[in-house]
């Protein structure tokens, strides 16, 4: 079914597209989309996002890399997203292979298929997309004419469950690394050498990890015994880092989708990295150090974005935009310039301790949806454990300022199952919610609405909590019920996540290569879109683990030892294992670690020897 050409695919798809949900997901002729000539470009890449269009198109990294690759005359980049289940059924029934949106060419005809791994529960979609494309799932089964299948993104820092399916992974920031890889591919295409030779060459690029060059052995009890690198490749693969973010490529003519996507607005990346040091947060560890863009650069980009997209809103994005040192002048300047054209500004998240009510009042999005704060834990003791440096006074001050400025809706984010959590911490959440309601009443807020959102802690690789277990499902579910009963109030809306979903996320976040068989089994059994509640089929997962004789609890619920070889020990984010151990140890002693932007160096290890440093513009 893969011999079909683009015209045939287009003709077939056109016949059934009116009968699928949101046909705009599968058309690819959006404003600013790039349609390059196939024949005059040397390397053809399809950028694959293993979730639906509306999610994938909302992801800034996807947009950066799509436009970056296309900015090179030699390279062509098109896009593909996971087809929703209705479209998948139509594709299979009509024997149409998965195609790239711009040209409708089958994925199989591309030189390279690059997945971004944002979420463990999209792993089955990666396999399913390969299957829909008619590409053999396992690297070892693919032939010379098949595309290279590569993958990056945060989950590439522990990609072991995907190791047999992906030719190589890209760790870290791809702005400089990916073009180098594509150059090597162009050479390889024109002057083919044996597969292993090419992989050995590409393994020399910063951050490239070729799993087949690393042999993993296991102990009898299932723990990893050792990870052996073959000669000629790095023993430990270190991520790639963009040294000068201010000068780095940024797309100023981004695609404007026709159908509404999750984050349907212009995005300006004000900085990269976060050094607050929350001990559960993987992004806060793997994107270090903090590097900011200058206000001049951002305003120049904003001008081009407004003109090229016509969007009505600019989002200032980063892991913690309230911490950007020039946030106030940049928001002020953008509003002064474009407010008259009805262009607003939004901030994705606001910190409690640096909450700036005037800033919040200026930005449009928060006003509509209510203000969100994330104390994460219910007591000061537990907030010290996770190094969330906010106090109850900070929260009450921020909420009070918000009430005085006219907000009536507040959303609080918490986590349950954090290391050392006790009953007292749960009661702390309930007490905090009551205090917020009480403050609202005393401030004369009418129609007060409080949303309490509780997610379950998922230990992640490359964090100080990587040695911690996830709490058992039954116990997490009990805590959810306890909170649900305690938070019964008509002003409160209580949200919580499905525990089985969080469990599976933990399994794959800390998984090893043996999980690959489970993944393939589950995918063949029909698991996909596992992060979507209505699609999640836990029974099939349980069956898959049973079938392959692996205990998922071994990965999710086991406490690891400092001496254990971790499945990701050969992959390095720059933050040293020693620092992570220290942080873990400090967590258990309820001790805080300061942010290196405002205090001294914490010795996390990312800056020395890598030619990078904290780069603040304010």
């Amino acid at each position: 079914m893969c011999e079909q050409n683009a015209a045939e695919i287009r003709r077939k798809v056109d016949r059934f597209l009116t009968r699928v949900l949101k046909p705009g997901r599968y058309l690819g002729a959006e404003w600013n989309s790039i349609h390059k000539e196939w024949e005059s470009t040397r390397v053809h890449m399809a950028f694959a996002f293993p979730d639906v269009y509306e999610v994938g198109m909302s992801h800034l990294g996807t947009r950066i890399l799509y436009h970056l690759v296309n900015s090179f005359p030699d390279f062509l980049c098109e896009r593909v997203f996971a087809p929703w289940v209705d479209m998948e059924a139509r594709l299979r029934e009509n024997e149409v292979p998965l195609y790239a949106l711009e040209s409708f060419r089958p994925l199989k005809t591309f030189d390279v298929l690059g997945f971004t791994l944002q979420y463990e529960l999209s792993f089955t979609n990666v396999l399913n997309m390969l299957d829909l494309a008619g590409i053999p799932l396992r690297s070892g089964k693919r032939k010379a004419g098949d595309p290279w299948v590569i993958a990056g993104g945060p989950c590439a820092f522990n990609p072991e469950p995907l190791a047999p399916f992906i030719d190589f992974f890209l760790l870290g920031e791809s702005e400089e690394q990916l073009p180098q890889v594509l150059d090597l591919m162009a050479e390889q295409k024109e002057n083919p050498r044996p597969r292993a030779d090419f992989l050995r060459r590409v393994a020399q690029v910063q951050g490239v990890y070729v799993p087949e060059f690393y042999q993993v052995s296991y102990r009898e009890d299932g723990r990893v015994q050792g990870i052996e690198a073959e000669p000629g490749v790095p023993r430990v693969v270190e991520k790639a880092i963009v040294k000068d973010l201010d000068q780095a490529f940024f797309p100023t003519e981004p695609i404007v989708p026709y159908l509404e996507i999750v984050h349907d607005r212009m995005m300006l990346e004000v900085m990269r990295g976060c050094s607050r040091g929350c001990r559960f947060c993987q992004a806060g560890m793997i994107y270090r150090p903090v590097r900011e863009r200058s206000p001049q650069t951002l305003l120049g980009q904003a001008e081009k974005l407004v003109r090229s997209t016509g969007y009505e809103e600019i989002s200032l994005t980063s892991l913690s935009s309230g911490d950007y040192s020039c946030i106030r002048p940049v928001v002020g300047d953008i509003l002064a310039r474009y407010g008259g054209e009805w262009v607003g500004v939004s901030l994705p998240s606001l910190r409690i301790d640096s909450f700036d009510v005037e800033l919040a009042a200026q930005v449009q999005k928060v006003r509509k949806s209510g203000l969100t704060f994330a104390p994460e834990a219910g007591t000061q003791r537990l907030r010290n454990v996770i190094n969330k440096g906010v106090t109850e006074e900070d929260l009450m001050a921020a909420v009070g300022a918000a009430f005085r400025a006219g907000w009536s809706g507040i959303k609080l984010y918490f986590m349950i199952g954090l290391p050392t959590e006790t009953q007292e911490d749960l009661d702390g959440m309930v007490a905090l919610a009551a205090k917020v309601l009480d403050l609202g009443k005393r401030s004369g807020v009418r129609n007060m609405r409080l949303t309490v959102s509780v997610s379950s802690f998922v230990p992640k690789s490359h964090t100080p909590f990587q040695w911690e277990p996830q709490e058992r499902q039954a116990s997490l579910a009990q805590k959810q019920q306890y909170l649900k009963e305690r938070l019964r109030d008509r002003r409160i809306k209580f949200n919580y996540h499905d525990v089985a979903t969080s469990f599976l996320e933990a399994v794959f976040a800390k998984g090893d290569r043996r999980l690959a068989d489970v993944l393939e089994h589950a995918c063949r059994a029909g698991c996909r879109f596992d992060g979507w509640t209505e699609q999640f089929r836990y029974g099939l997962w349980q069956e898959s683990f049973r079938e392959l004789g692996l205990d998922p609890g071994f990965y999710a619920n086991r406490t690891l030892d400092y001496d254990d070889v971790l499945p990701w020990d050969h992959l390095e984010s720059g933050v040293s294992k020693k620092f992570l151990m220290q942080e873990h140890w400090k967590a258990l002693r309820e001790a805080n670690t300061q942010d290196c932007r405002f205090a001294e160096c914490t010795g996390c290890g990312v800056c020395p020897g890598r030619g990078v440093r904290i780069d603040l513009k304010g």
Binding site: R15, G24, E30, E341, K368
Partner: protein, 241 residues
């Protein structure tokens, strides 16, 4: 100033959903740097409004949109600048200034024509086709089941159909359909097709039907007028009321 623009929405643009179309125009206007007027209030929205919604997948040969601007501009310049910023399937055809206080498109458009091409699953002759269509039109009452969240409901679709002709072109049947549109209901062309197949056994391959709305009109005393040049009638200026 308030503008009324006629446009076509063909090819891939037929997949742009009605709810998304306002955003497509809003963003195109901002790229073209034509200042759209916004509503007052807590959650301002652009003053862009359409006539009757076009279903996803149905082409529109001549559709209309009203756009209010914050300042006076030359209409030809507006059309030229806006056209450059629209997706390729949307062509601006003509436009004119609408007097303040005129009724909205939604309130005046009451008639629509469709051209439908549908392949035959089994070959039939023109005689059989004509008989089928005549028999269908001869029915006084044509129930059709619609499915909503509250379960199936049955509606009589016959009153909405004003004219229907069909002929054979190669392996396809080409139908011309004229229907009444209104706030109180209506009929969708694919419902007419499905009903013809079900009640008169006409062998249409429904999945492969291609539908185009050829026009949408202000019908007044049996005559179809464009909302751009309606004479004295329901769509005319306020003094004519």
């Amino acid at each position: 100033m308030r503008l009324r623009i006629a446009y076509s929405k063909m090819e891939a643009a037929k997949f742009i959903a009605h709810l998304d179309l306002a955003r497509v125009f809003e963003r195109a206007m901002r790229r073209a740097q034509i200042p759209v007027a916004y509503s007052e209030g807590f959650n301002p929205h652009p003053k862009i409004s359409f006539g009757s919604a076009l279903a996803v997948g149905v082409e529109g040969q001549k559709e209309y949109v009203d756009i209010e601007l914050r300042q006076e501009m030359d209409i030809r310049e507006i059309l030229g600048r806006l056209q450059e910023q629209l997706p390729s399937g949307i062509r601006l055809l003509e436009g004119s200034v609408v007097a303040p206080g005129s009724k909205a498109l939604m309130a005046i458009l009451n008639s629509a024509g469709y051209l439908i091409r549908v392949p035959m699953a089994l070959p039939i002759g023109p005689e059989r086709l004509r008989e089928g269509v005549q028999a269908w039109l001869g029915r006084g009452h044509i129930p059709y089941a619609r499915y909503s969240k509250r379960g199936p409901t049955e509606k009589d679709i016959r009153p909405w159909v004003k004219r229907l002709t069909a002929e054979i072109e190669g392996e396809e049947v080409v139908l011309e359909l004229e229907v009444e549109v209104g706030n109180s209901g209506g009929v969708r062309p694919e419902e007419v097709l499905a009903s013809l197949r079900e009640l008169e056994n006409l062998p249409f391959d429904l999945e492969a039907a291609r539908i185009r709305r050829t026009g949408i009109y202000v019908q007044y005393r049996g005559q179809n007028y464009s909302p751009l040049d309606t004479p004295k009638g329901p769509g005319a200026k306020s003094e004519a009321r």
